[in-house]
């Protein structure tokens, strides 16, 4: 367990190093192009922000951030407070989206196992397909029509809307995985035994079958918690919330190499944290060693 924990954590500096190495190793232009101001400023920026040519160069963006200096090739750039605020927005969207989609997934799986009504069954079966068949940014757009987008002031209402738009595709996916697992559990002997003992259907589902199905959800769906990150990129764009996804897109568009390196590393760290959290939940749910 401890080894696994350390191994997972080690991914973060490795990603930081690899991305920096990759970005810094972008092709160097030939001599006659060296005069072009664009290229010159790009190179200067890489040397300044990324410590091009230094062994520990990949630490430089972090050192700059720690000193409170801004990163980026604008005169102003983004400093650690900006990055923290942006990350805060994205995390709020992601966590709310995760809660909404998990809530939906449990509701969905429960309904689908319980219902005997043919119309409900048809709807439940069709719904995920309908959601999959809609490009993820549609949901955000549809919500933006009445709500408008963030301009200034409190971001929270728009973060909630973004979370809702983000949650839908993830909810469809989690719901399907959970339902598949739950249906499988419902056919297993221990469920039949519990029922035979006179427990109500709901009690059987929530007390016995659902925790076991949750383990399957953890296995199948945790890697795809990234769906939420992906979704928040799109929703941030539509709702004009300048969160981490926005910063990342901006950095890529403006070729702000240092921001790309920092952003990628932060995302990698998030993924590692999510997978560690999932392991913790698994240990808690699964009594088997």
């Amino acid at each position: 367990m401890r080894v696994r924990f350390l191994r997972d954590l080690a991914i973060i500096p490795i990603v930081a190093f690899l991305v920096q190495a990759l970005v810094v190793r972008l092709p160097v232009p030939v001599s006659d192009d060296a005069k072009r101001p664009q290229v010159v400023s790009l190179q200067a920026q890489m040397e300044r922000d990324l410590g091009k040519g230094h062994a520990l160069g990949f630490l430089r963006p972090w050192a700059k951030l720690a000193r409170g200096e801004p990163l980026g090739n604008d005169q102003q750039g983004f400093d650690i407070r900006d990055l923290a605020a942006a990350l805060g927005s994205s995390l709020r969207i992601g966590i709310l989206g995760l809660a909404l989609s998990l809530g939906w997934a449990y509701l969905y799986a429960w309904f689908r196992v319980r219902t005997r009504n043919p119309l409900d069954r048809r709807t439940l079966e069709l719904l995920p397909d309908l959601i999959y068949a809609t490009p993820p940014f549609f949901f955000a757009l549809v919500l933006a029509i009445p709500l408008g987008t963030h301009l200034a002031g409190s971001r929270l209402p728009f973060e909630a809307a973004a979370a809702l738009a983000t949650a839908l595709p993830a909810a469809a996916f989690f719901g399907q995985v959970l339902h598949g697992a739950l249906a499988h559990e419902m056919g297993r002997p221990y469920v039949l035994t519990a029922r035979a003992k006179g427990l109500s259907d709901d009690r059987v589902i929530w007390r016995h079958a659902m925790p076991n199905a949750t383990l399957v959800l953890l296995d199948g769906a945790v890697p795809k918690v990234t769906l939420l990150l992906t979704g928040s990129f799109i929703a941030e764009r539509v709702f004009n919330i300048h969160g981490f996804g926005y910063l990342y897109v901006y950095a890529a568009e403006q070729r702000q190499a240092a921001l790309v390196v920092v952003g990628t590393t932060v995302f990698a760290a998030l993924l590692v944290l999510v997978s560690l959290a999932a392991q913790a939940v698994r240990t808690w749910l699964d009594p088997r060693p």
């Binding site: 006659d32 192009d33 005069k35 072009r36 101001p37 664009q38 801004p70 604008d74 005169q75 102003q76 983004f78 900006d82 605020a85 942006a86 309904f111 319980r114 219902t115 005997r116 009504n117 119309l119 409900d120 709807t123 439940l124 719904l127 933006a144 029509i145 009445p146 709500l147 408008g148 987008t149 963030h150 301009l151 200034a152 259907d201 004009n240 300048h242």
Partner: protein, 562 residues
């Protein structure tokens, strides 16, 4: 077993939820705009595509147009222009020239009633500091006409460079007298002083003695009155993450009755929706569809700008270039694309200095609209059925370039040329690639003036082949395989800067004639207008011919009478 439930609870619930959401959405979406009741409460909220990326005007680059909008609201220069777009002195009370016809030395006497937003008086030292900072910035090329600047910029950092700075030709003679000396007479130089914000002053009483990092922090941190302003507005807050800029009236700027006390700029590309929802008060109606959507509210402002199509001299023989110029029916290009379409004949736009009057006999030299002749030229060159590539900006401009490109494609098909359209997000990148690997024959470009002087429209074409001046704009695309006439054009274009005002028009015409007729390297297509709508209680909110929102005379008439 429990009997199966009969009611489709899930489907019903889902439908109910959807209906509820729809009803709530309709309720929220109802437009509910209420104008402010008092002048003191009035806030002008503006959503634009981009907002400034820096407040440090001396160091910023001209690639970010919104910088100009805010710079013009918060800064003043030695010159400005009045309502008729004539250059007039701004913070200077007088300007003495060494030679009234061919001046190289300008001695400005500053007004004594101009104050920074903290109350400190503007002094000559502020210009010295601002300009010295600008020499290290991205716009230093604008300073290269000043004595000593070329030498200074050519030196690497070090003691010789610091010594060269003392020989650069601008200085403060006393607290209120500022002198500039040019290497040669340049008629456009006053235009620079009015229109290029790198020439704005910096508050020396605040910045003197600060390190570069501290100066950077001064321009970064807002909220405490920094950075100081000279213009009608000062910056109250710049939220870098939301990219919003909050401007309030500058108390040390001459009072104007009814001035809107606060202006807030937000970035958004959905300004039209936000305007309909009553959340912003100004809306650029950009791209084709939205210009037609609000005919009653729509207002328009003519720009000093020309949209043209460049033709590669490297890939297209001159006959084919002439044929293309003759094949285009410019008036028809605007049908259903823009509400008002001012078809272009000359490169210099209507009302611009140096432009020939319509009906001038010299204009007969320009290629006429004649498809038969065009077809003949194409056939003679053996180019019938050949495919050309036309590159256009796919977004990021305010013009419906895709629709215009489509129009050109259809029109050139009439004379036997096939056109493939290629959208790019970065014309600069496209041009850089092109230099290495010639691969497109035609491209769209818009030239906009920053100040009224023909040089604005001609200078870009003279940069080709001179890497020192190459700011990655037109980079030899047009000049690639140009003949002696093009070289003559370069001399003409350069010469327009050196003559006195009376012969300016003749020289500008000669340069245009070579560019449009003799060498046929470009076809002017039309002079763009800017479309927008604002609330009726706002007065004098206009777009100036240089394509910036003008806040200087902005007032409001409140309360709104029913």
């Amino acid at each position: 077993m429990i009997p199966p439930p009969r009611t489709p609870w899930f489907t019903l619930g889902l439908c109910g939820l959807l209906a509820l959401g729809l009803a709530a959405g309709r309720h929220i979406a109802r437009p509910r705009y209420a104008p402010p009741t008092r002048v003191e409460d009035a806030v002008l909220r503006i959503a634009i595509n981009l907002t400034p990326n820096t407040l440090d005007w001396n160091l910023s680059s001209d690639f970010s147009p919104p910088n100009y909008t805010v710079a013009r609201a918060t800064m003043r220069g030695l010159y400005t222009w009045n309502e008729n777009q004539d250059l007039v002195l701004d913070v200077a009370a007088s300007c003495a020239l060494d030679d009234p016809k061919r001046p190289v030395e300008y001695t400005f006497r500053l007004r004594d009633d101009v104050f920074w937003s903290d109350g400190a008086p503007l002094c000559a030292e502020d210009f010295v500091l601002g300009w010295r900072r600008a020499l290290e910035g991205k716009e230093s090329k604008y300073f290269s006409d000043i004595v000593g600047v070329r030498d200074y910029l050519a030196l690497p950092p070090g003691p010789p460079r610091a010594a060269a700075l003392a020989r650069v030709g601008f200085r403060a003679l006393d607290a209120r007298t500022f002198q500039v000396r040019l290497a040669a007479p340049r008629t456009y130089f006053p235009g620079y002083l009015a229109g290029v914000y790198a020439f704005c002053p910096a508050p020396s009483h605040r910045l003197r003695g600060l390190t570069e990092d501290q100066i950077r922090a001064y321009y970064r941190r807002t909220g405490n009155g920094d950075p100081l302003a000279l213009g009608p507005y000062r910056i109250r807050e710049w939220n870098r993450l939301d990219e919003s800029i909050d401007l309030v009236a500058n108390p040390h700027y001459p009072a104007l009755p009814g001035r809107v006390p606060r202006v807030v700029l937000f970035p958004s590309d959905l300004a039209t929706l936000l305007y309909d929802q009553g959340r912003v008060d100004f809306n650029f109606l950009d791209d084709g569809p939205s210009t037609f959507r609000y005919p009653a509210e729509r207002r328009q402002a003519a720009l000093w700008s020309t949209f043209w199509m460049g033709m590669s001299t490297r890939l297209l023989p001159s006959d084919v270039r002439r044929a293309i110029a003759m094949a285009l029916d410019r008036a028809a290009l605007g049908d259903h694309v823009l509400p008002r379409f001012r078809a272009a004949s000359q490169l210099l736009p209507e009302g611009f200095p140096g432009r020939l009057k319509d009906g001038d006999p010299r204009l007969k030299a320009l290629p006429p609209f004649d498809r038969n002749e065009a077809r003949r030229l194409v056939a003679r060159a053996g180019w019938t059925g050949r495919e050309l590539t036309l590159v256009y900006h796919e977004n990021g401009t305010f013009l419906p370039e895709a629709a215009l490109a489509e129009g050109v494609r259809v029109q050139l098909a009439e004379v036997g040329l096939r056109v493939r359209l290629l959208g790019t997000r970065s014309m600069t990148a496209e041009m850089l690639t092109h230099d290495r690997r010639a691969r497109h024959e035609l491209h769209f470009r818009r030239t906009g003036a920053d100040f009224p002087h023909p040089q604005e429209f001609l200078l870009p074409f003279t940069y080709g082949g001179d890497p020192a001046q190459d700011n990655a704009s037109y980079t030899g695309f047009e000049a690639g395989g140009a003949g002696p006439a093009y070289r003559r054009f370069e001399r003409e274009a350069q010469a327009t800067a050196e003559v006195d005002a009376s012969s300016l028009a003749d020289r500008a015409w000669e340069a245009q004639r070579i560019l449009l007729a003799e060498e046929a390297v470009l076809v002017p297509l039309f002079y763009p207008d800017r479309y927008f709508r604002t609330r009726p209680w706002l007065r004098e909110l206009t777009i100036d011919p240089f394509n910036f929102i003008d806040f200087t005379r902005l007032t409001c008439s409140l309360p709104v009478k029913p």
